[in-house]
Amino acid sequence: MKLKSITTALAVSAAIAATALGQSKIIFKGSDTLGNKLVPQLKAEYIKTNKDLDIEITPQGSGHAFSNLLSGSADIGMSSRAVKQDEKDQFDAAGKSLVEHVAAWDMIAVIVNEENPVKKLTLEQLGDIFTGKIKNWSEVGGADAPISSYTRNSSSGTYKSFSKLGMAGEDYGSDCQKLEGNQQICTEVSKNVNGIGYVGLAYSKGDNFKTVKINNNSPKISKLATYPLARRLYYYTVGEPTGQVKAFLEFATTAEKADEITEAVGFIPSKAGEQSAAK
């Protein structure tokens, strides 16, 4: 009898403890563009005031966001592109609704090696380079050397938004090298005189590579309205967020401090972005 009562007491107290703590973990999965810089920094700021909260981040590409949200293994999906119709269908099919939150604005910067004489490209040329129609730098005013084009891998959102924005929806040519993340593209372009790649705005400053003007527009916040490769970055949740998730998203998308961080990281805060895009 005694034993039984002790176990019952233990079980009850465990249950109370569990409910009192509530959900103490937020799992982020998805975009490498968001997950390698912005979200970790937001997290660092946010847990200053929410010490008990555990935030897990696994950035491996936007594709992960939706597959993980669907299977329930992520609370927030980070995506550098809007959800695709067939992905949405999957959620519909599962009886779940996907809610979109704009995280920030980003511009995809096209980068080439510092030594490369090419300074600007037209959108058409850019598309032709990545579809494989243009294979030599001399065709766009550079040296007589083969082009090495670096892209993100196909589970990346940037991969898809770039093909939509920069290549008129055409497919990548088979000459593209698929790299694992923005930073890897920066590294390779900085090491290869004939390299060209694209990265999120936050990654566009570094040693030994430079950004290229597209249609005479450089990727700068003031050019948001005219730069052809500007896009939104998103957080996705399944259903309207509640509890900790809601609190975090509110902080991330509206708090002043969060905007500061967003800007420091190199993105454009969502409010400011919407305003200047409207212009």
Partner: protein, 376 residues
């Protein structure tokens, strides 16, 4: 010199050719050794500064007591360079309001230490080895002691086990990902019942649902265990077979049952072999990246794995995803080549190498010691 010496060395082109050939062989050997030394020395020289420090206790304790964090690097108006974790940087900035922060760069997962990944790898290895040893050793005992050498079915099994030992780890990873992350049974309440589940039936107030364990410690450990079981079975069976037949016959002759014989006259002498197999398995498992990348790991995680057990109980502990050292290194490999990231990169691979190499070394030492004690 004796001119009439009939056995004198004949100097000829042949000899020169032969010497060249021999030196080529030697060169091959020392090329490999040279490469190894190059790699080790590079890692040690560049990794040691992260690892050790000049003053007592001579080990960089921070590197082992913190998890990976964001690294902030900047300089102030006087050109003094600063490099610290993001959280320290925030403290620093409030303490030194009159110093400007210029040219601030942040690097993911490059500051702090490697405690989280280290613990994660440790947990994965321990869980995996418990599973693998339990199944592997028992299977080896059965194959070696209960089945004859000529049991056709078992020989087929042996052959397939040998074959599976050579299957690439990515195939196991794919398998583990498909099975454990997406299909394994789990006990859930109604609200947690996933729509992607294969099959579910009510059980004990909830449902047993075949919906998988997601990326979790358990899924990772199981995947690794399945990968290493063939290795363990093969090695254990070998060491059991190496126990002289006379021991068994002597034991039977004294009227022992089969189990008694195995227990008293075979297993004790096979212990060194089993131990070696274990360490061999650990060396292989600890170094694998692909399987845990698909099944168990996260890049960034605030809590240490043990904290979860308090909050979420045993099941929560096993179903959490963990950081792991190899995956941490993989994350680091995607960072830009920068002087600021290098300490973390080299420190991590140095620690990882020490860990894995340590196990390799232990296996050799252990084997030799036990061999000396038990000689037949």
């Amino acid at each position: 010199m004796n001119a009439s010496n009939p056995f004198a060395k004949k100097k000829s082109l042949f000899e020169v050719k032969e010497r060249i050939q021999l030196n080529l062989l030697r060169l091959a050997c020392y090329t490999i050794i040279g490469c190894a030394i190059f790699i080790f020395s590079d890692i040690v020289v560049k990794g040691a500064p992260t690892f050790f420090k000049a003053e007592a206790p001579f080990v960089n304790t921070e590197f082992f007591t913190k998890s990976p964090e964001i690294l902030s690097v900047w300089h102030d108006q006087d050109g003094v360079k600063y490099s610290m974790t993001k959280s320290d940087a925030d403290v620093w900035q409030t303490e030194n309001p009159d110093l400007q922060v210029i040219d601030l760069h942040d690097y993911a997962a490059s500051g702090g230490g490697i405690l989280g990944p280290l613990l994660g790898t440790g947990l994965l290895v321990v869980c995996c080895m418990i599973l693998a040893l339990f199944i592997g050793v028992s299977a080896a005992i059965y194959l070696s002691e209960y089945c004859g050498k000529h049991d056709k079915l078992m020989n087929l099994v042996r052959l397939s086990i040998l074959n599976l030992a050579g299957v690439p780890s990515i195939v196991f990873a794919l398998f583990g990902w498909g099975i454990f992350c997406h299909m394994a049974p789990i006990h859930v309440s109604v609200s947690e019942l996933s729509d992607t589940t294969l099959w579910a039936f009510p059980f004990a107030g909830g449902y047993i649902s075949f919906q998988g364990w997601d990326t979790s410690l358990l899924a990772g450990a199981c995947t690794l265990a399945i990968m290493v079981i063939p290795v363990i079975i093969t090695a254990c069976e070998e060491s059991l077979q190496a126990v002289p037949k006379g021991f068994r016959e002597a034991s039977y002759a004294l009227g022992a049952t089969q189990w008694q014989t195995i227990r008293k006259a075979v297993l004790p002498f096979a212990v060194p072999g089993v131990l070696t197999a274990t360490v061999l398995g650990i060396t292989r498992v600890a170094g694998e990246t692909a399987p845990i990348m698909l099944t168990a790991t996260v890049t960034e995680k605030g809590n240490l794995p043990f904290n979860t057990i308090v909050d979420e109980g045993v099941w929560g502990f096993f179903s959490q995803s963990v950081q792991a050292l190899p995956f941490h290194i993989y994350t680091l490999s995607k960072l830009p080549a920068s002087e600021n990231v290098k300490p973390m990169q080299y420190g991590s691979i140095f620690a990882f190498l020490l860990l894995v190499m340590g196990f390799a070394l232990i296996s050799i030492l252990l084997r030799n010691r036990i061999r000396k004690k038990l000689k037949w």
